[in-house]
């Protein structure tokens, strides 16, 4: 184990982080903007991977176009959850679980009743890039690809959430009563947000499957947890009062930091099967962070007050008089 090895590991973490950050942006839309913990993503990530891998691996489709198809498939998943929760009034978390569960079966059908689609030797997105730019490493081609797509998505989201429709979606997550009283159908805004979110998640899944070289049925397990961890880490890095654009950029940073932490832990010798535990611990710590900060401040100010009291008592004892502090202060 040396520095060079470590740097290689971190390089890989950045490449992974950039690709997964597309998913994180999707989770950010539901979790933070819409205020909806959407568990659909575990299914829709795999749907994106399945659609993309199937098109590229078995139908020789253009790898970039297959990503568009993955995005579309993800949007349908989001609409399904949106329909369950708005029109059928099923609680949000349960709606997500239902769609996620249903998607498990659907994904296997998409994959042609196989548990895995290998993409060895097929023309995937990163192979196209490596052909176009000779000499670029696999990791750098992933960073380039992910970076360009993330850039486009962030520009799109920044624009979209500034429009009339986007503003009403933001307001829906904040105060649905107000939004309805001002003439906006919150069912529609909820469904649109869920569709965009899951579209991004599926897109991320599609890229991941191509880059990884295969799609499996269980590829999406734990996606929501990774997404939440990345969102929360990103926010801890950012602090509270930042504009929308830095907030989106920090989602990318959060994803990369998450991958870096995981890589570091693996590098230090833990097993890859320990990752779920580590992720849960990271989220717990990150969620605890604001509370911890508050109680530290509280502790600090209590301590200062205690010191002040102790000081004045000590002074009184020194003077040996029962008179007030003011007098003794005046003498000194």
């Amino acid at each position: 184990m040396n520095i060079a090895n470590f740097l290689v590991t971190m390089h890989g973490a950045v490449a992974q982080g950039v690709i997964w950050s597309i998913m994180t942006l999707g989770v950010y839309i539901t979790f933070r903007i819409l205020d909806f913990a959407d568990l659909t993503v575990d299914g829709s990530f795999a749907t994106g991977a399945a659609v993309s891998a199937m098109l590229v691996g078995n139908h020789n489709a253009d790898p970039f176009l297959s990503l568009l198809a993955a995005f579309g498939a993800g949007m349908v998943c989001g609409f399904a959850t949106g329909f369950l929760t708005t029109k059928m009034k099923i609680p949000g978390i349960l709606s997500g679980i239902l769609t996620m569960t249903a998607l498990y079966s659907i994904n296997i059908r998409i994959m042609g009743n196989q548990a895995m689609i290998p993409l060895n030797g097929t023309k995937t997105v990163d192979i196209v890039i490596r052909k176009a730019i000779p000499g670029i490493s696999a990791k750098n081609s992933q960073i380039l690809l992910g970076g360009v797509i993330v850039g486009i998505i962030i520009a799109f989201l920044y624009w979209f959430f500034g429009t009339e429709l986007g503003s009403s979606i933001r307001a829906t997550g904040n105060n649905p009563y107000m939004v309805r009283s001002l003439g906006v159908n919150t069912d529609t805004t909820t469904m649109i947000a869920l569709a965009i979110s899951n579209g991004l998640v599926a897109l991320s899944g599609g890229i991941f499957a191509q880059v990884q070289g295969s799609s499996t049925v269980d590829i999406g397990i734990g996606t929501i947890v990774i997404g939440l961890a990345s969102v929360i880490i990103g926010e801890v890095v950012l602090g509270k009062h930042a504009g929308f654009l830095p907030r989106l950029l920090c989602m990318v940073l959060g994803s990369i930091i998450y991958r870096a932490i995981i890589s570091l832990v693996l590098f230090l010798g833990l097993r890859s099967t320990d990752m779920k535990l580590i992720t849960a611990i990271i989220i717990a710590i990150a969620l605890f962070f604001p509370t911890m900060k508050k109680s530290m401040q509280q502790w600090g100010s209590r301590r200062q007050a205690a010191i002040a009291v102790a000081d004045s008592q000590a002074e009184n004892a020194f003077d040996g008089s029962d008179d007030s502090d003011k007098e003794s202060d005046g003498k000194e």
Partner: protein, 264 residues
Amino acid sequence: MLKLSHVYKTFNKGTVNEKQALIDINLQLNPGDFVTIIGGNGAGKSTLLNLIAGVYPCDGGNIFVDDTDVTRLKEYKRARFLGRVFQDPMRGTAGDMNIEENLAIAYRRGKPRTLRWGITPEERKLYHDRLSTLDLGLEDRMTSKVGLLSGGQRQALTLLMATLQKPKLLLLDEHTAALDPKTADTVLKHTNEIVTGQHLTALMVTHNMHHAIELGNRIIMMDGGKILFDISGEDKKHLKVEDLLKRFQNAEGKELDNDRMLLN
């Protein structure tokens, strides 16, 4: 303007908690009417406003706005006609969004939400001018988050938002009840200025008999889901609290014993 005919509403039908909230309500508002509705807890005042706004459906009867039957229209569709201010200052505004964003969403009430930019420079000017009429200094804080404002400021802002697009009918549901007396008076002053200044038709629910008497050209008293009496014109102008109490006794055959109303 607004017409309610034979409107009924019962909550928790068929259970031990069954409550007849509104019983055969008939009401007609003329354009420019500023009606105050007074009554104790459970009189049906807020239910009446919520039925007009479409928060929940009527069990019977019909609601018309300008001869359009809106009985079956959903809440967000009725919003085209209505401006609303709620009792809870948190309800009418989005706390995580800034003042101008809130106003921009309200400015588009009744219009489709497109992919055009959510707020234009001309609008900002309009908002600045309208905010300055409130005299709260909010015009200099247009990019502040609404969550940083006090309850009174939020209610004043909600009032402005409700009337930014002139509503056919303004619904005020005890919008000063959660405020301290001084702030409540300020918000009421603005309410009166806006309603009379823009010649709005308004329904204002209140617990406070003085407020109900001072404001508006017409007063309705409700109890037990019914309208007890409806006073307008000259009678309303000379109305005093004692007259209200006497009228209540005549109508119900019992003394008004609602502390919240009497102590205000």
